[in-house]
Symmetry: D3
Subunit: 131 residues, 6 copies
């Protein structure tokens, strides 16, 4: 099984609802370093799983939809935009793009995705799904 | 599948028994950077797998039991406290804490654990288990 | 010349005023990884420049005053809380603490400070000053 | 399940054939940081999965066969030595060495390998296989 | 004194002339992670040393002139394109751009440059100069 | 001014004397990631400040004298082998080697040294001196 990963980042504001979140209930922010891994069992005739340049572009577009925003005001996101929720969000948007052919891969080439968001040097979260 | 990881570290002394360990048979030491990943398929109603602050606290306690110690003299550890052995030790202690509810997760929320110990910039070991 | 560095971080929201800032004029946020370096020419009789635990505590307090906040609403900060401005802010607060003896160093032991704030894996800023 | 990882690197020249590779069709080069993970379910009587020194040596030899070379001229490699192809190449060579006993592990101790090649701070690829 | 750093990278082929270079006399290659630090004593009225976006663009252009090339065939470079030589080359090109106003800074704002090129996780070189 | 850095590491045991060291008074240990930077204003006729392979070898020898040891029992070290003390020790040993010609540089080529020891992902110390 092959995996190809590209890294990007986004800088966002948000807040959390729920007493357990303590000071994170206040409006604050984060730089999320975003790693997207595309998995598949077979390489194409050019010897690659996918075009890493296209993968980086697609990730940049997905991340760009959230970048420099207050996520509390972005439609389509749940109230608490935890690192887990955002990892799933990015993975789901990338899976749609894989499905639509935007990554230039024929159906079945990419079979799974893992997206990891690093919120600091001490904590990160990931979401893994099939495509 | 979601994964949430927190990082801590511990600084310990130890030695190894067995000729194959060469100079590591002598009393020496290590900083272990410890990454603990908690896995689960579903987020809770607040949109998180678990309280990352609680996870960090629990890891800190587990790591604190070994910190600033000569592991050759800590009861309950095998003779050779290899990076693999210590990764399993930390994972097992965390699994007990998940089981006892110390991480604030209801039963079944966290289904697996991976603990990785980095002994240097050139080598690390991990242990993965179900909870 | 010796240098001792401790690392911490803060997660904040803010926005910038000025067209050149483009999308960063919107409310967004950042995780700043904060490295504080204390410099001095001589070690004390215990063989250290300063107590690294105290240094970490003091940095944590300084960073804690800004953590989980919208910096646009924190009094005493300039309108644009750029990475440069925040590096200087943290350095100035630490210099006051060095001066007041909060780091446990006698006068003249620590002669300079460098504070570096990493805003992402691609950009960081620092501020260096005497104490 | 245990995993033990060692890191090495190689510095190589190569080029790609195919219009989609754009400027990478030209002869250029890369430093590949190479992480090899050995997996197995059980530790040996000494409390290790394998001798990490031997693992590092074997990886160094495998990587050394490609180091400081123009991969376009190395026999036995496909035309396009993508990061994916090279990850598989290194994994396959290591699997042979595990099989031949060069890592000092009895049959069945190491059951799988993952090799990850980092081509930059923004992109990496991995290949996972059984042994 | 402030410093602002941006990171980029380039992937190049090259070889060295001289017996002391051993296997590096052969055509091989490297990924150079390139960090460019701009230094200055005063912030501008917007609270920044320089526009970090412009700095990143200018570095990307300078690095782009060498990217995906065989440096042995690039005019204007010395025979041995060591990491030191390339660090100086990038610093000199950036200094010209600072001087020409391409970074949007008035004369005297940026007073020094440091460029660091990482050739692997084990070695890097830097060049520092005034502007 | 040029700088060339090589990285190595050592794994040691030690303890500290003095109440302020708290639990670090107990025998414990550390992995120190050791970065040695050699500085000089001019490159030699081959376009390098020094032979990076020789620099790595010399650092490896210096670090090797302390590796896999209990520093409390190594002669010639002060009672408290703080990160600062060890950074100075490594720098002084390297300066002697530069002076003796072991790095293959003629007198005056290398004018200064900086040695940084990382004791964890959260703390490091450095020592800078002329040669």
């Amino acid at each position: 099984m092959f995996g190809v990963t590209v890294r990007d980042h986004m800088m966002v504001a948000h807040s959390f609802e729920g007493e357990r979140f303590g000071p994170a209930q206040r409006l604050h922010g984060a730089t999320f370093i975003v790693d997207a891994t595309f998995r598949g069992a077979e390489l194409d005739p050019d010897g690659i799983l996918l075009d890493i340049g296209l993968a980086a572009e697609q990730l940049h577009e997905v991340v760009g939809e959230l970048s420099y925003r207050n996520l509390d005001e972005v439609e389509g996101l749940p109230r608490n935009t935890s690192t887990e929720v955002l990892a799933r969000h990015v993975a789901d948007r990338l899976a749609e793009r894989v499905g639509s052919g935007a990554l230039g891969t024929e159906p079945g080439r990419v079979t799974a995705l893992v997206v990891t968001l690093h919120e600091s040097h001490l904590a990160w979260a990931s979401y893994e799904r099939t495509v």
